[in-house]
Each structure stands twice: as structure tokens, then as C-alpha cells.
Amino acid sequence: MIHPSVEAFALAAVLLALGAALVHRLRFPPLPAYLLVGLALGERLDIETLEPLPSLGLLLLLFSVGLEFGPDRLGQLSQRVLRAGAWDALALPLGAGLGLATGLDWRGALLLGGILYVSSSAVIVKLILDLRRASSPESEMTLGVLVFEDLVVAFLLVLLGGGSGMGLLGGMGLAFAYWMAARWLGPRLSRGIEGFSNELVLLAGAALVSGSASLFHSIGASEGVGAFLCGMVAAGLGLRERLEHLFGPVRDLGVALFFLTVGAQALGLIQGAGGLAVGLAVIGLLAKLPLNLWGAKEAGLNPKRQRYAAIYLLPRGEFNLVLGTLALHQGYLLVAQVAVILVLVSIPLGSVLMRYAPEWFGKLRSSAGGSPRRV
């Protein structure tokens, strides 16, 4: 007697592997393939039997984003990068204003602003690694801007996640408690934790992530922000490298399944989407380009690198979907549709643009470069 989830998992894994193998041949990152496999399968994929892997995948993804993009990183960024982050953040009020103009109330407008604003740290890091761009100057700026974005959106999620009244207060209280734990408790406990075995760290980490998510959910706050804050606490405990190492493969598996289910559920959600949702998504994609070009210029990148940086920040992902789910639960169908369209379009589009950017913009000579290139 075999549990049905094993069969569903086997089928999903085979399809994902096929998709990954196909794009690998084209020297292409695998994430868009997972989404497209999901889209192609659509309703035929029984998502419920795959659980809890996709849900855990998203939580672990947000956990590792919190681990890597926590507030302590802000202090390590240069002034120039912070300035670029501030330019980029203008997309949030811009998006919210757009939401108000389309007749949403302030809550829906802020959700829309967040969805148009935040780019996906997880997707972009993966693309930078897969395309071997880690050492370029625009990657440094892009990753710094993502730290900025993730903190702003985590704050936004705390504000909007808990409905109203008690939920909001509880969410803020919990978030504050986690922040204090990361700051004060972490450094004091980190020496003791160093001696823990890998197995213990893995299990305790898993318990902490899923426990925090459930805790945040139970008081009516966003479970995604729970997982993110949890990563921040773990970074405070000095576990950044170990957890990254221990959770990496599990997370990647879960994330592949998560994007598969996103693709599979997307069709049902966007079938009723009108021109307004598509228009908002397109405006969101376009509006950030000039902001990031200006930001990159402020950060001191040359014109070619400015274009690269603006392209790198296109992909939307985990936080947009978290915000979209929240919007759906709070009754803003339009906002949720915008989120799904953005993710579906921006990941493949961003991957293609990032992949071919050097070939398209490579001929632009940098004004800062100075001497001609030796052959």
C-alpha cells in the first residue's frame, strides 16, 4: 500500500526534471521551466496530494531570504547602494497611488504597491549564480537593493497581514519580539549553539520555521513574515552558513514544487482577469525600469551596467505571491491577479533578458572604461 502523495510526487519530480534538463541544454536557468511545466499541467495536477512540500518550500524560501537579507545586512551596504535602494523604493508609493486611482481602498492599494514594488531575492540570486554574474558590479548593487526591498515588504506584511485590531497588534508585537531576539538573544546564545550537531541544528531549524509560521498564522498575521523573521533570528544566532548549507537541497526541492503548483493554480485565477489586471502588471514591470536606471546611475555604475541592473531587478516571486495570497483572502481579487500575472511574466522574461543582456548591450562602450580593450 503506497500513499497517493508518493505517486503524485514521483510524477511531479519526473516532469520537473525533464523541464530542468531541457532548459539546461539551452544554458538557461530552471525556475521559469518549473512555472511553465505547472502551467502546462494546469488543473490535471492534484496539488493537495503534493502537500506539504510546496508550502514548506515557500516557507523555507522565505526563511533563507530572512537569513541572507536580514536587517544586519543594511549596515554592511555602501551608501551608494542604499541610495539606489531609496530610488527603487519610490515604486511602492507609485504603485499604491495607482491602486487608489483604480478605486481600491488604502489597504488594497498598499498591497498592490507592494506587489508592483518588490522583486524576488530568491529568483534573482539564483539567476545571478546560474548565469555566473556574481562578480560583476551590477550584481553587488542589485543584491543590496534587494535587502532594502525585503525589509520594506516585511514591514508592509506586518502592517497589512493581521487584518485589523488584535491581529495587527499581535503581529507587530510578535515581529518586535523576533527582532529583539535576533539582536539581543542571538549573540549571547551563539557560542553554545556552535557545539550542536548538524542533525540537531537541522531539526531545530525546521521546527522553528514551521512553528513560527503556524504561530503567526494562528494570531491572524502572515505566516510568510513569520518564516522571514525566523531567518533573521537564525542569522542572529550565527547559524547563517550552517543553515544555508543544511537546508539548501531540501529548500530547492520544495521551491521547485512550489513554483510548479503556482503555475498549475495560475490559470484558474487569471482566467477572469481583465485588461485592467494585465495593464497594472505591465505598468508595474515598466515603472521600475527608469527608477532602477536612475538608482544605478546614483550608485556609480556605467551606462551598460545601469541597464543590466535594471534588468536584473525585473523578476518577481515569493513576496509577490505572499502578498497576492493575502490580497485574495482579504477580498482583492484584482490585486491577486496582478501578482500572479507579474510572477508568470517576469520570471521567464527576466531570465531571457538577463541571459542575453551581454550580447545586446555588450557593444556599448563604457564612458568610465577609459582605455581601449586589448585584443
Binding site: S78, L129, A134, S139, F196
Partner: protein, 158 residues
């Protein structure tokens, strides 16, 4: 020589090293342990002349050769050629290893010399005494025949 360090969240750390000749080397240390090296000629800011990928192990060996400490012949009390025939291994003491808070002498293995202990933030400790107490995060530099070193590694990691 000028070294600039930058954090790449989610990726690792980036070091930009400018040497006296005006050439630059960019080193990215990935969380996965791999290293990415890029070499830029003087005045060239855009395209690296050469790139090189190293595993964690290769990078450590290269680092030791560049530092010029670990291949000094007196370190094993033997000749250079002898050393070349043997195996040099960098053994990290992971948290949770049985060797944490134990003396090096407790893990003595015949045919294995402990050449040095590398401890974060401290100067290299050459020819450590058997009473030296190990800490999590230490890296031992050991030399010996492949089989002997293998046995030693098993003991420390068990």
C-alpha cells in the same frame, strides 16, 4: 596592495584586489564554498582577461602555496620531494565533531603529522603540541600517506 570587501547577500563575499602593477583580481567566495576568480588587466574595467573556478579544497591549497608557509620543508622534518609523495589535507573540525574540546594527542594516528592549526582570527599555530585543545571551526593541516590521512579524517569526523 588594496583590498575592497563587499557583501553579496545570498551569494557570499567579494574581494577586489588591486596590486602594485595596476592589475586587479576579483575573488568571489561563495556560500557553497566555491571560489570564483577573475583577472583584469591594468586599465581594463569591463572584461576580465581570465576567469577561474576553484573548489573549496583547491582554493585552500592554492592559498597555502601563495602564503608560502605550509610547504616549508622543515614543517615535516623531511625533504620537499618526500612531501610531494605524501598527501596534505586540510581537515576542518566541524561543530559536533568528536574532536571538539579534545586534545590533538587523543587523535594521534601513526603516519600522520599535524603540521599546523588554523584558527579564525588567530595567527597560524605551527607544529601544535599534543596537548593543544581543539575548537569547533579549527582547521588542521595534516600530512602523511593517503591511507593514514584517511584514517585520521575518519576519526575526527566520526
Amino acid at each position: 596592495m588594496r583590498v575592497e570587501e563587499a557583501v553579496l547577500p545570498g551569494v557570499g563575499r567579494k574581494y577586489t584586489i588591486s596590486v602594485r602593477s595596476g592589475d586587479r583580481i576579483v575573488v568571489v567566495v561563495h556560500h557553497s564554498g566555491g571560489r570564483e576568480l577573475q583577472y583584469y588587466e591594468k586599465g581594463e574595467l569591463e572584461e576580465p582577461v581570465a576567469t577561474l573556478d576553484l573548489t573549496d579544497e583547491e582554493a585552500r591549497e592554492l592559498g597555502a602555496i601563495l602564503a608560502g608557509v605550509l610547504f616549508a620543508p622543515e614543517a615535516v622534518g623531511d625533504t620537499r620531494t618526500k612531501l610531494a609523495a605524501e598527501s596534505l589535507e586540510w581537515v576542518r573540525i566541524e561543530p559536533g565533531s568528536p574532536a571538539v574540546r579534545q586534545q590533538i594527542g587523543d587523535f594521534a594516528t601513526s603516519g600522520v603529522h599535524t603540521l599546523a592549526v588554523l584558527r579564525g582570527g588567530e595567527a597560524l599555530l605551527p607544529n601544535p603540541a599534543p596537548e593543544t585543545v581543539l575548537q569547533a571551526g579549527d582547521t588542521l593541516v595534516v600530512a602523511g600517506s593517503r591511507e593514514a590521512v584517511e584514517r585520521f579524517v575518519q576519526k575526527v569526523r566520526a
